[in-house]
């Protein structure tokens, strides 16, 4: 039986996708997380081994450059791949963090696969603030999220029907709370650089 493999399946949008696929799909759904012994950093080789041969690999969990390593390791070992990126990659000067740099490199790797005549279908999602998981302090953004888990799930389903789609971006509304959070990570933020 073909299988769908997802990393980071125990919380946030990863859990929503994992639960929805388990409820609706006839395929075997495999979730890989620290909680079941598949840390994408410490257990990298195990993750690759488990994902190899998957019909769809959903590269969801973020940990430094591990997402990128998984793209490179699995780009010719799975049938299709979904990669969770971030719209923050368009604003490296506004959000000068390793996270943004990692997401930029991730997007570029996906673009190169999409240009390779032998490349597998890859969907790169430029996600913005997601319900429930947008900040370490949940009170910061709970009323400010831009996209729901369901919208991300719907996008993946749409892509399985239209695998020629390679990239989808989501809106990013810069509410006052979001702006204050950006100023927290970048005290030198020039407010004229962005628009509310």
């Amino acid at each position: 039986m073909s299988k769908i493999v997802i990393t980071g399946h125990t919380s946030g949008v990863g859990k929503t996708i994992y639960d929805a696929l388990n409820a609706d799909s006839c395929r075997e759904i495999v979730g890989l997380s620290r909680s079941n012994g598949y840390d994408i950093d410490a257990d990298f080789d195990k993750v690759v081994e488990e994902a190899t041969g998957a019909e769809i690999f959903i590269n969801n969990a973020y940990r430094d450059s591990q997402q990128l390593r998984l793209v490179e390791a699995l780009k010719d070992k799975v049938g299709m791949m979904v990669v969770m990126g971030s719209v923050s990659r368009f604003y490296p000067e506004v959000i000068p963090t390793d996270y943004v740099r990692d997401k930029q490199e991730l997007a570029e790797a996906c673009r190169l696969i999409s240009m390779d005549p032998n490349g597998i279908p890859v969907l790169h999602l430029d996600l913005s603030f997601i319900e429930g998981t947008v900040a370490s302090n949940p009170t910061d953004f709970t009323s400010d999220f831009n996209i729901t888990h369901q919208e991300i799930l719907d996008t993946i389903v749409f892509w399985t029907q239209h695998p020629n789609v390679r990239q989808v971006e989501f809106t990013w509304k810069l509410t006052p709370h979001v702006l204050s959070e950006l100023k927290r990570v970048n005290p030198n933020l020039d407010p004229t650089r962005i628009t509310i």
Binding site: V87, F90, I113, S114, M115, D116, P117, N118, G119, P121, D126, S128, N146, I147, E151, D154, T155, F158, Q161, H162, P163, N164, V165, R166, Q167, V168, E169, F170, T171, W172, K173, L174, T195, I196
Partner: protein, 148 residues
């Protein structure tokens, strides 16, 4: 919801026009180069304008961004520079950057489609992409494969 389109006399534009029962801004009734004021005047917040024709796309985006929902037909030439059509590539790059920036903060939903030569011929996929966006207006950009 009322749909309008520019550039609908053939190909993708004709198909999209039929799919969404669009009112068309085309010759002989409209000249999209000369009738910008008249066209903009017709649009209200319930409108969806599909900017398919390349001519004056950027100006229409600027004029319509605070008036209605927009679908903008872009091109992979924006990021894969086409040396045989340098002006076209430059214009599409500027269009893409402008729409990407505006769509993140726009009052109305805005969708940019980064078309490739193969996706450009897949009319139904493009129509389905627009339908998907109508149901999921947080989507601002859809790009298509270039490895075919």
């Amino acid at each position: 919801m009322k749909f309008y389109i520019t550039g609908s006399t053939r190909g993708l534009g004709e198909h999209i026009s039929n799919e969404f029962n669009c009112e068309c801004f085309d010759r002989p009734v409209y000249d999209i180069n000369k009738d910008i004021d008249n066209i903009v005047e017709k649009i209200n917040p319930e409108s969806v304008v599909i900017l398919n024709a390349h001519a004056n796309q950027l100006e229409y985006v600027e004029r319509l961004k605070d008036k209605c929902s927009l679908v903008v037909m872009g091109s992979i030439a924006a990021i894969n520079f086409d040396p045989e059509m340098p002006e076209y590539s430059k214009e599409k790059w500027k269009l893409e950057k402008t729409v990407q920036h505006l769509s993140e903060h726009s009052k109305y939903p805005m969708l940019y489609l980064q078309l490739t030569s193969s996706s450009y011929r897949n009319y139904q996929m493009i129509a389905n992409s627009i339908r998907f966006w109508l149901d999921n207006p947080a989507t601002t950009f859809i790009g298509y494969n270039i490895n075919e």
